[in-house]
C-alpha cells in the first residue's frame, strides 16, 4: 500500500508537470500572435513561419543535444531515465517541461529581429542557441554546475526561480546582439536621428498573444515548483499562481496609468507590454512575495518597460519592433534584482553575478554567431525585399492575400 501511495505521488507530480508543460508550449502560440500583430502585414507570414519553425528546431535540438548538455542524460535522450532516477516524476515529463522553456527563450529573439532578417539565418542561429548557448547557461544555473570551473552561481547566493534571467534575459541578450549586428529597419530612423513609429497591423492578434502568454505563464512559473504532491508544494504552486497573476495585473495598471499621464491616451501596445513586464518581473521569485508585493514588483516592471522601450528606441536607436529587449531583458534584470527584497536566502551580489554571467555569455556567444552568420550567409534581406515585405521573398505568400495593401 505504501508503494501505491508513492506511485500516486509520482502520478500527481508527473501529471502536474505535463499540464504545466502544455501551458508553456501554448506560449509559443502567444509569441506568434503577439509578434504577428505587431509587425506590418507584409512581414506577417514570415514571422509566423519563423515562430513555428523555431519551436520545432528548439524541440529537436534540445532533444538531440541541449538537454544532455544542461542536465546530462545522453545525446538524443538515450539515457534520460538516469537524469530523473530519483525524481518524483516521470523522466519524459521533465524533458517535456524543460524543452518548452528553450523555445520560449528563442521566441524572444524572433520578435526583435522581425521585418528584416533572413529566415534561414535565423534558423541557423536557433540551432546553435537552443543546442548549445542556452543549455550551457542553464547548466550553470538550474543544474548548479560551475561556470568554466571558476565559480558556482548558487554558492554566490544567486536564485532565479523560473527564469527571469535564465530564460527571459538570456533571450533578450541574444536578441540585442542580433539587432546590433542587423541594424534598424529601413525607414525607422530619419536622417536627423529621430525615430518613426511603425505601427503593427493587427491589435486583436497582439492582445490575443498577450492573453495566451499570460495563461501560459501559470505553467511557466507554476511548474517551476517542480512538485505538487505534498501540502508544502501545493501551497507553493498556489502562491506562485496567485502572484504570477497579481504581478501581471500590476504591470497592466502601472503601464496604463503611466501612459495616460504621459500622453493622455491608453496606448494599448504599452498596456500589453505592461502585462508581459509584470510577468517577466515576477518570474525570478514568484514564491516568496505576498500578493501585494507581487503586484508592486509587476507594477515596477510595467513602469520600467514604458521608459525602456522609449529610451532604447530613441536614445540608443535600437530598433526592436516588438519591444522584446525591454520586456524580457530590462525587466528580466529587474526581476532578478527584486528577489532579495522578499527572499532572504538570495543576495543582491549573487543576483548581479548571475545576471552578469548570463548576459556576458549569451550576448558574447550570440554576437560572435550573428557576425559569423552575417559573414557566411548574410543575415539581412535586400533593401528591395525589405520594402516589398519579407513574406514574398522568404515564404512566397502573403498573410492576407485578399486585402489591399
Amino acid at each position: 500500500m505504501e508503494n501505491t501511495i508513492i506511485e500516486m505521488q509520482f502520478a500527481i507530480d508527473t501529471f502536474y508537470f505535463l499540464v504545466m508543460g502544455a501551458l508553456v508550449m501554448w506560449m509559443a502560440a502567444g509569441f506568434s500572435m503577439l509578434e504577428a500583430g505587431l509587425v506590418r502585414s507584409k512581414n506577417t507570414a514570415e514571422i509566423l513561419t519563423k515562430n513555428v519553425g523555431l519551436f520545432a528546431i528548439s524541440c529537436t535540438m534540445y532533444m538531440i543535444y541541449g538537454y544532455d548538455l544542461m542536465y546530462g542524460g545522453g545525446i538524443m535522450l538515450e539515457g534520460i531515465e538516469v537524469v530523473a532516477k530519483d525524481a518524483t516524476y516521470a523522466a519524459p515529463s521533465d524533458f517535456f517541461f524543460q524543452v518548452v522553456f528553450v523555445a520560449t527563450a528563442m521566441s524572444i529573439v524572433s520578435g526583435a529581429v522581425a521585418e528584416r532578417m533572413k529566415l534561414f539565418a535565423f534558423f541557423a542561429f536557433a540551432i546553435v542557441f537552443t543546442g548549445v548557448i542556452y543549455p550551457m547557461e542553464g547548466a550553470w544555473t538550474w543544474n548548479g554546475e560551475s561556470v568554466f570551473g571558476l565559480f558556482v552561481l548558487g554558492d554566490l547566493g544567486f536564485s532565479d526561480f523560473a527564469g527571469s534571467g535564465i530564460v527571459h534575459m538570456a533571450g533578450a541578450a541574444a536578441a540585442l546582439a542580433g539587432v546590433l549586428v542587423l541594424g534598424a529597419r529601413k525607414g525607422k530612423y530619419n536622417k536627423d536621428g529621430s525615430s518613426n513609429a511603425i505601427p503593427g497591423a493587427n491589435m486583436p492578434l497582439a492582445t490575443l498573444g498577450t492573453f495566451i502568454l499570460w495563461m501560459g505563464w501559470f505553467g511557466f512559473n507554476g511548474g517551476s515548483v517542480l512538485a505538487m504532491a505534498s501540502k508544502e508544494s501545493a501551497n507553493a504552486v498556489a502562491m506562485v499562481f496567485l502572484n504570477t497573476n497579481a504581478a501581471a495585473a500590476g504591470g497592466v495598471i502601472a503601464a496604463l496609468i503611466l501612459v495616460k499621464l504621459l500622453w493622455g491616451k491608453a496606448d494599448l501596445t504599452m498596456v500589453l507590454n505592461g502585462a508581459l513586464a509584470g510577468l517577466v518581473a515576477i518570474t525570478a521569485g514568484p514564491d516568496t512575495p505576498t500578493a501585494l508585493e507581487a503586484t508592486l514588483i509587476g507594477a515596477i516592471g510595467g513602469v520600467l518597460v514604458v521608459f525602456s522601450i522609449n529610451i532604447l528606441d530613441r536614445v540608443f536607436k535600437i530598433d526592436d519592433p516588438v519591444g522584446a529587449i525591454s520586456v524580457h531583458g530590462v525587466v528580466g534584470l529587474w526581476g532578478l534584482l527584486a528577489v532579495p527584497l522578499t527572499n532572504p536566502d538570495v543576495l543582491f551580489s549573487g543576483q548581479l553575478a548571475g545576471a552578469g554571467t548570463i548576459f556576458v555569455w549569451v550576448f558574447g556567444t550570440s554576437l560572435v554567431l550573428w557576425l559569423a552568420l552575417k559573414a557566411i550567409i548574410g543575415i539581412r534581406v535586400s533593401d528591395q525585399e525589405e520594402s516589398e515585405g519579407v513574406d514574398i521573398v522568404e515564404c512566397g505568400l502573403e498573410a492576407y492575400p485578399e486585402f489591399t495593401k
Binding site: 491616451k265 496606448d267 522601450i309 528606441d313 530613441r314
Partner: protein
C-alpha cells in the same frame, strides 16, 4: 455627360446616398480612400511614440450623370455631406469632369440611356 467625383466623410455615406436617391440618381461607385487636405490629421501613439496621421479616411463617390443633372446633384451632395449647418473643415469636395461615352456592358447600350 459628366462625371462627378465627390470626396466625403465616411459616416456621411448613407445620408448622401439617400439624398441622391431622392433626386433619382440610380448609379454610384464608391471607393474607400485616404484624404490629405486642410483638415488637420490627428496624432496617434504607438508604443509611446507619437506620430501624425495626415491621410484621413474618406469615401470617394463617382457618379456619371447627364449634363443637365449636374447642378441638382451638386446641391444634393453639398447639403447632405456637411457635418453640420456651417460645415466643418474636411467635409470634402466635388470634382466635375467631362464624360465622353458610357457603355452598359450587359446590353451594349451607350450614352445617357446607359447611365
Amino acid at each position: 455627360m459628366k462625371m462627378l467625383t465627390a470626396i466625403i466623410k465616411p459616416f456621411k455615406l448613407d445620408d448622401v446616398r439617400d439624398a441622391l436617391s431622392e433626386i433619382g440618381i440610380s448609379g454610384i461607385t464608391a471607393t474607400e480612400v485616404k484624404g490629405f487636405g486642410r483638415q488637420k490629421g490627428h496624432t496617434e501613439l504607438y508604443r509611446g511614440a507619437e506620430y501624425t496621421i495626415d491621410f484621413l479616411p474618406k469615401v470617394k463617390l463617382e457618379i456619371a450623370i447627364s449634363a443637365d443633372q449636374v447642378d441638382a446633384v451638386i446641391s444634393a451632395i453639398s447639403s447632405s455631406a456637411k457635418s453640420d449647418d456651417e460645415g466643418k473643415i474636411g467635409d470634402g469636395k466635388i470634382f466635375v469632369s467631362n464624360l465622353e461615352e458610357v457603355v452598359r456592358i450587359r446590353t451594349g447600350e451607350t450614352g445617357s440611356v446607359a447611365l
